[in-house]
Symmetry: none
């Protein structure tokens, strides 16, 4: 089933759908046979929804595949990540509201620390303050290249955005980040003949950046990756026939919403801010994507107990959401982030769909083990969730006579 | 897996397979947390088969997709509905035994009621009697077009078949049915340049029909849809290596059987008639498709209790079927038709496969919730059922050495 197939079936309806995406919600027990973060958390509100809804676990990209945030989100949004690929550079650009033009090449940059021999000693330059980042980006913006305009924009801490604007550029350039300390930055290479010009520009930029940053230890070098150009895809609103809003405080997820044409709303930095925005804008849209970041951050930090607490914080806000009376609520994550792994993982992601027509299963609590026996099954492909949600919202027409 | 793959594996066997297709069998509870129609029905015989067999729920076309009867049936028969598409006109033609020639364009017609301004006030002309339909079709058959022969045949009540026969015709013509009362009929449009000639003929027919029917209120106009030509597919018998019979009283389902080359047997109008035909012709075939319509009709009418009763009526006939000693019995539906939705739906369809070799699971009753935990899983694609049934009949050879 592709997106056009679904698009043909959409019909008008007054129903409202909420996708509450709890980033990295899936986990693992601290010790074999124990409970996961989600199973440990006291979640009376999510448990009630699980009991009334249909549950299961979704596979974000494919069996055994640990997805990054981009492909994982796109999968839940219904866009097959193997078909709809987007580079991290483009995501970073969208996330900070950078006006990416057709043909621009965007890359995600890190300030990093190199020693006198040019070997990387800290890939994140000690996570410098955002203010320092801004000062350095101002310096880097002065770099000129023959053949492309240069834009260097602060993202947060050690992260920045590089955009090259010019004719005949390509995103098919290899990253300069060796992904491990103890190595020098890599030389960028054009992965197709068309990309050789762009690779040469990137190389020139990195060399000039090294000179500009020489006296700014620990941020004395840059690493560049995720070279990419803005894709031309059908929007989420077109595909599913909804006015879609995205509510996310973190740039990456704002960017993901924008990438598929959602209206990404102004909101604050906390979960409470996001839920307040949802309530304020309830009448203006009929689909809401609400992104919850702290669960993933806790998992990435290996902090099991903090992840439990963050899940409980989400649960505590659920009644506020239900008071808005959505017709369909989907609660899931983009991927699992088990604290014991301190990273994203390949594990299927707990999922519940609640609606008047969901055909309730026997699951009575929202957790990994319970979801295995749910009606969505233990391994439903992520891309199937949105069509099911829209069907539950009575927004899809019959196929064929 | 495509049909040719299966075809290569078929081998001769003396086994007999029955597909008992209980139309629209899947449902929803009347109130949240309650029982569905199937779960409410007392079905001791189906429960026994479920306990001895392997159960699950199949997804007819794709996640969230509510299928029409055509694609839903084809899926259960093993034909991927996204690949094997057939128009409603062709189905209607086959269903009444009309001898459709290569290149004919068939359309499904409705008599409808229009007011003086030409606006549709009843898309079904009050479901006129079949006898009245016959008289009107005789009149419409006199219409002549320059460029095509015209056939107009009664189906049932307000429904008829239009066939145009001539050179260079195409089924790529848009429907004239606006699908809602309060609008005039639409003008037919050729969806490809090749189809413009056919669209013009359809337009001419509709105009002449309006004149012919002017004095026959409430049946004073026609609506035409499902323009299509007979496809050229491998037959069910070829694919699965069986002599296949279809037993169905309703034209649509007889047509579906014929479309894939089944011998569609003469039978009566009741379920008892169909089961009697099955017993009478038991020795002549080794695959039987038995279609049960009243469950779907009750669901479409929103009559929960009647659907329950019709399911119980099917259950009561199961012992008669088992007395024939089939080697494999598949009981499922083509799609779900929850009475609370009064329509087909996207929900997975309860399925059981019974044979000596099915590898029984833990399911002991035939219902939606119970089937979730069955060995076929909660979301098996419909197209996988026939290969599994044929394997259980020991009719498929080993693949590879």
């Amino acid at each position: 089933m592709d997106l056009n197939f679904i698009k043909e079936l959409t019909k008008k309806a007054e129903t409202k759908v909420v996708l509450l995406l709890v980033d990295g919600i899936g986990g693992l027990p601290k010790t074999a046979g124990g409970k996961t973060e989600l199973e440990t958390a006291k979640t009376p509100n999510l448990d009630k929804l699980a009991a009334e809804g249909i549950c299961g676990l979704h596979v974000p990209v494919g069996a055994g595949v640990t997805p990054g945030s981009g492909p994982a989100h796109l999968g839940v949004f219904g866009y097959d990540a193997c078909k709809y690929f987007v580079g991290r550079g483009v995501l970073a650009a969208l996330g900070i509201g950078f006006d990416l033009h057709e043909g621009d090449v965007a890359a995600r940059g890190n300030f990093c620390t190199v020693d006198d021999a040019g070997v990387i000693t800290d890939r994140r330059a000690g996570r410098i303050a955002t203010e320092k980042n801004q000062a350095l980006c101002a310096e880097l913006s002065k770099i000129t290249l023959s053949g492309a305009e240069v834009f260097v924009e602060t993202v947060k801490e050690h992260r920045f955005l590089l955009v090259l604007r010019g004719k005949g550029l390509s995103g098919e350039v290899s990253e300069t980040d060796p992904n491990k300390e103890g190595n020098p930055p890599r030389e960028p290479v054009g992965e197709t003949p068309d990309a050789e010009k762009t690779a040469a520009l990137v190389k020139e930029f990195a060399e000039k950046a090294k000179t500009v940053l020489a006296d700014h230890h620990p941020a004395n070098m840059v690493l560049l990756r995720g070279f990419s150009q803005k894709p031309d895809w059908p929007t989420f609103g077109e595909v599913f026939g909804v006015r879609a809003a995205g509510i996310a405080s973190y740039p990456m997820y704002r960017g993901l919403g924008k990438l598929i044409g959602m209206d990404v709303l102004e909101t604050g930095t906390t979960l409470e801010d996001e839920f307040a925005t949802l309530a304020e804008r309830w009448d203006d849209f009929d689909f809401f994507y609400v992104h919850v970041k702290p669960t993933d951050s806790a998992g990435e930090d290996g902090d099991f107990d903090r992840k439990v607490a963050k899940i409980e914080a989400v649960d505590a806000l659920v009644p506020r959401l239900m008071k808005l009376a959505p017709d369909v609520l989907v609660v899931t994550g983009d991927h699992s982030t088990p604290a014991v792994l301190k990273s994203h993982s390949w594990h299927p992601v707990p999922t519940l769909i609640w609606s008047a027509y969901c055909r309730c299963d026997g699951v009575t609590s929202f957790g990994e083990k319970a979801c295995i026996t749910g009606g969505l099954g233990p391994r439903i492909p992520a891309v199937e969730l949105m069509p099911i949600a829209m069907a539950n919202a009575l927004r899809l027409d019959k196929y064929g006579a």
